[in-house]
Symmetry: C2
DNA sequence: TTCATAGATGACCGGTCGGTCAACATGAAG
DNA sequence: CTTCATGTTGACCGACCGGTCATCTATGAA
């Protein structure tokens, strides 16, 4: 059962690596096929178009994220605020490892794709938005629990969660532009200082 | 003197609009020439390559920024912390205006270009990095002045400045992915809560 | 009047892009 | 053995890409 989908899987992971390391537009289908050792006709047997491939890549990456280090970072057994540190650390080590191997910081695949194609392709934009929404909910939950435990004063946890996600994407963007993962490590801890207060109920 | 450079200026501003509204890779030289009413040969008379055009576009935009609303926002007569609000407001209104006209949020040209091409073109990456550095210095100065005036407790103003710039880019990224400028308005004010403490001198 | 220079013109180039297609291999079900 | 679905192969397509170039025009200095 996995043999017959082995080709598809190879295409998917190759495309993910290439898109992440360079960009959507810069990676051609021929290049993906060559690296994945797949014929072009086979590619189009599994993916009707490059756009469909991108959709699948986003799903694939989001799944691996959700079950990988994001699941670890937002482990319910971890104190809520430590989850934020964990997330920053994970981002730092990942980017650093990638740079040590390939010489350049790839940044966040979702952020990269979002800025590159969300003005051109509304379907992909919506999909990326959903990924960010899901990520934001993790922060949201952690913040609610931190408030409940009295670790931080009450705040607008939904808005603050979104702000934290934005900050995470922002420091990765800056670090990628500097091609220096240390930016993530140095600026990252400030994520816990972000606060959006509850609107006064007047 | 401006007549003989009129063609060049038209190419530049057309390219800036198109790159900003879509992406670097998605906009071809032919399209730029058609819209700017310039022949292809003329284009290559002024710009040796597409990369050179991109360099010029970044310079052009950075100049207009520096002398435009960034100069207003970081007006030395404004209280330091108000400058941050001004900057957020300016970003919000700009993105909102663009969306109202074109139907979609273009985001930040520098952020867009940084994520799209900084892994492929180190020269452009370095140029974008310099733009961010310069922007960061504005925040840095404002923070130093705020500390001096006693408006905020002492902090690592350089690191905090970078964090604020990252946050600004991050909320614009998130807003673009949602295609909703309101994200900037809602999350933006949290920029003033960001803090990175001074390292203990042990 | 000559000459040099800056700029404009548009046909043209090789290469690559995303995508198509008819032919063929394989293996399980009837 | 036949049938059918799933998957593979690689040649092929038109469109478009960034970039080149010989040729022409306009201007202004000598």
């Amino acid at each position: 059962m996995n043999i017959e989908h082995d080709t598809r899987t190879r295409i998917l992971s190759t495309a993910r690596e290439l898109f992440h390391g360079r960009s959507y537009a810069d990676v051609g289908i021929k290049e993906i096929c060559d690296l994945a050792k797949v014929q072009k006709g086979s590619f189009y047997h599994f993916f009707p178009s490059k756009q469909d491939l991108a959709m699948a890549v986003i799903d694939d990456m989001a799944d691996e994220w959700a079950h990988g280090f994001v699941a670890e970072a937002f482990d319910q057994n971890l104190p809520p605020l430590e989850r934020l540190d964990y997330m920053i650390d994970a981002a730092y080590y990942w980017q650093k490892a990638a740079k040590d191997i390939e010489g350049r910081m790839p940044g966040c695949l979702f952020g990269n794709l979002a800025l590159e194609i969300s003005t051109r392709d509304d379907v992909l934009r919506a999909k990326l938005n959903a990924v960010f929404d899901k990520a934001s909910r993790r922060f949201h939950q952690a913040l609610d629990q931190a408030v409940e435990l009295g670790e931080i004063p009450p705040l607008d946890s939904e808005a603050t969660a979104a702000a934290m996600l934005a900050f995470l994407e922002g420091i990765i963007l800056l670090a990628k532009t500097r091609n220096d993962p240390e930016v993530v490590r140095i600026l990252g801890p400030a994520i816990k200082t972000l606060r959006i207060e509850l609107a006064h109920p007047n």
